[in-house]
């Protein structure tokens, strides 16, 4: 049986004023998997994600999400996707409940009150639901963003640095919930992160980008074997700095 990929990217290019932010990227992500997108600053991760979401138009190449061509057919699938990114915030004066209500209505969530209560419980936000979002700590705000990202129980979740501002305990707690959500709903996740431990723990596949191109693409275990390293962080440094320079730094 032919399985439609959750994300299919073919020869994707994005040029800003003669600079290729993304330069001929191709990959396909199977439904129900968690894939990590790694790369240093300016590697092209966020631009790639923005094109997958349909927020940015590619210079050339194509993106298909859940079988829909992006951005042309985005309204076929936007209600089945969601995202969390450090580039966006939620209205600060609105309470968590108000924000989740507005987004729930936008996504057409049935039994919205019940869903908000469920997410409040899942992300330990129940006691904070009537507090303005602007009066939350950075960690609480991240949990609210994740609750918003899950408001419509998406089949595809795009996460850009989802645990960047969380303490290790809360970050671990969030990862556990994300992993459980994906397992229970057979949801697909594309996760851009600088946290190698997080990627190692959550992702069954890792795509490493550098200067707008894919440098490597494999399972974490095979990457470790191929680079002869013990951690993904060392692999990342090998790719980012070039293998010899990284080996010296490690020593």
């Amino acid at each position: 049986m032919h399985v439609v990929p959750a994300i299919k990217v073919e020869r994707l290019v994005k040029v800003y004023k003669h600079v290729a932010a993304v330069d001929g990227v191709s990959f396909s992500i199977a439904p129900g998997t968690i894939t990590g997108l790694l790369g240093g600053n300016g590697a092209g991760k966020s631009t790639t994600i923005a094109m997958i979401m349909g927020l940015t138009m590619p210079t050339s190449g194509r993106v298909a999400v859940l079988g829909a061509e992006m951005p042309r057919e985005r309204y076929r699938v936007l209600h089945r996707m969601n995202f969390e990114s450090p580039y966006v915030d939620m209205p600060m004066r609105l309470t968590i409940r108000q924000n989740l209500t507005v987004f729930g209505m936008l996504y057409g969530v049935p039994d919205l009150g019940g869903r908000i209560a469920e997410l409040g419980e899942a992300f330990d936000l129940t006691d904070l639901l009537d507090r303005p979002t602007g009066r939350l700590s950075a960690g609480q705000k991240t949990r609210v963003s994740l609750a918003k990202a899950l408001i419509n129980s998406p089949d595809l979740l795009l996460l850009d640095e989802p645990t960047a501002s969380l303490d290790p305990d809360t970050a671990d707690w969030v990862r556990t919930r994300l992993a459980r959500y994906c397992r229970d709903r057979h949801a697909t996740v594309l996760l851009a992160s600088h946290n190698m431990a997080e990627v190692e723990r959550l992702c069954e596949r890792v795509i490493i980008m550098k200067r707008g191109r894919i440098e490597d693409d494999d399972t974490p275990a095979r990457l470790l074997t191929r680079y002869g390293r013990r951690t993904l962080e060392e692999v990342f440094l090998d790719v980012a700095r070039g293998r010899d320079e990284a080996r010296e730094a490690a020593q």
Binding site: R76, M81, M105
Partner: protein, 277 residues
């Protein structure tokens, strides 16, 4: 996986009242939570109305013509405020999304651009009502000028002015979407470009002859001329209102077209994720 919903609901043109209501609710929550925002809706129209009301009172006592033209200044002021506040109400609701860095969330949601525009139009009427209704009532108390006494003419004036304000607001929102908050000043000042040419406080014949055709290209010009005809000659000029309506159709279509073009350009330039200066 979720079952796919029907093809009509998935179309870019599918309209959802629920999504429009969601956006209106979002702005209502914001207004309700912020007294400076509410106060801002009322205080400037009030200050203007009082200032111009007293000026009119003064000239009425000293000039025969103005004595006959009772209410033209204050009427012009109140109608100008509908035009200006209508556009500002639209633009500020849009700017709230930019200030809150929320535009990416909205553009990534199933909210269609035209639903967003309809919600902003509806909110501009809500904001205008909060500001204008108390001021128009105070105009009756302070200066004996009853805007509602204009009857059906007021409906025609209001409709035409709101259409212009929305057309301009839609276009300016596109500019801000494409260029970031660096273009925010247009939202505050663009309507003042209309002021001298729309002949808010004086008839079109006051302008130099070569400039008059330009004035007649603007829909508000017809409204202000219509208001003066009503207050001075006690004649409702339906022809002027129909001309304004036709021009407004062109303005509105131009505003929407410009917005969609600028939105497309913002997608091309990646500015929807980077909405700063």
């Amino acid at each position: 996986m979720n079952a796919p919903i029907n093809a009509r609901a998935e179309s870019a043109l599918a309209f959802s009242l629920r999504r429009v209501a969601a956006m209106m609710l979002r702005y209502w929550y914001l207004l309700r939570s912020s007294w400076p925002r509410l106060l801002d809706l009322v205080y400037w129209p009030l200050v203007q109305m009082i200032t111009w009301g007293f000026i009119q009172y003064y000239v009425m006592q000293n000039a025969g013509f103005f004595a006959r033209a009772g209410g033209t200044f204050i009427g012009a002021l109140l109608l100008w405020d509908i035009l200006f506040r209508g556009q500002l109400g639209f633009s500020i609701a849009f700017l709230e999304e930019m200030w809150a860095r929320n535009i990416g969330n909205l553009m990534m949601s199933p909210l269609r651009p035209f639903e967003f525009i309809i919600a902003l139009m509806a909110m501009s009427v809500v904001r205008l009502s909060i500001g204008a209704v108390p001021v128009t009532l105070l105009a009756i108390v302070f200066f004996g000028f009853n805007l509602y006494g204009l009857g059906f003419a007021l409906v025609a004036f209001f409709l035409n002015l709101m259409l212009t304000s929305w057309a301009v607001g839609i276009f300016v929102s596109g500019l801000v979407l494409r260029n970031g908050l660096g273009a925010e000043n247009f939202a505050w000042s663009i309507m003042f470009v209309f002021m001298p040419l729309a002949c808010v406080y004086y008839p079109v014949t006051t302008l130099p002859v070569w400039l008059q055709p330009a004035a007649w290209l603007l829909p508000p010009t017809y409204v202000f001329e219509g208001m003066r005809a009503l207050l001075i000659q006690h004649t409702f000029r339906a022809d002027l209102m129909l001309d304004a309506l036709a021009l407004n159709a062109v303005f509105f279509a131009g505003g929407v077209f410009g917005f969609l073009k600028l939105l497309r350009s913002a997608r091309r330039h990646g500015s929807l994720m980077q909405t700063g200066e």
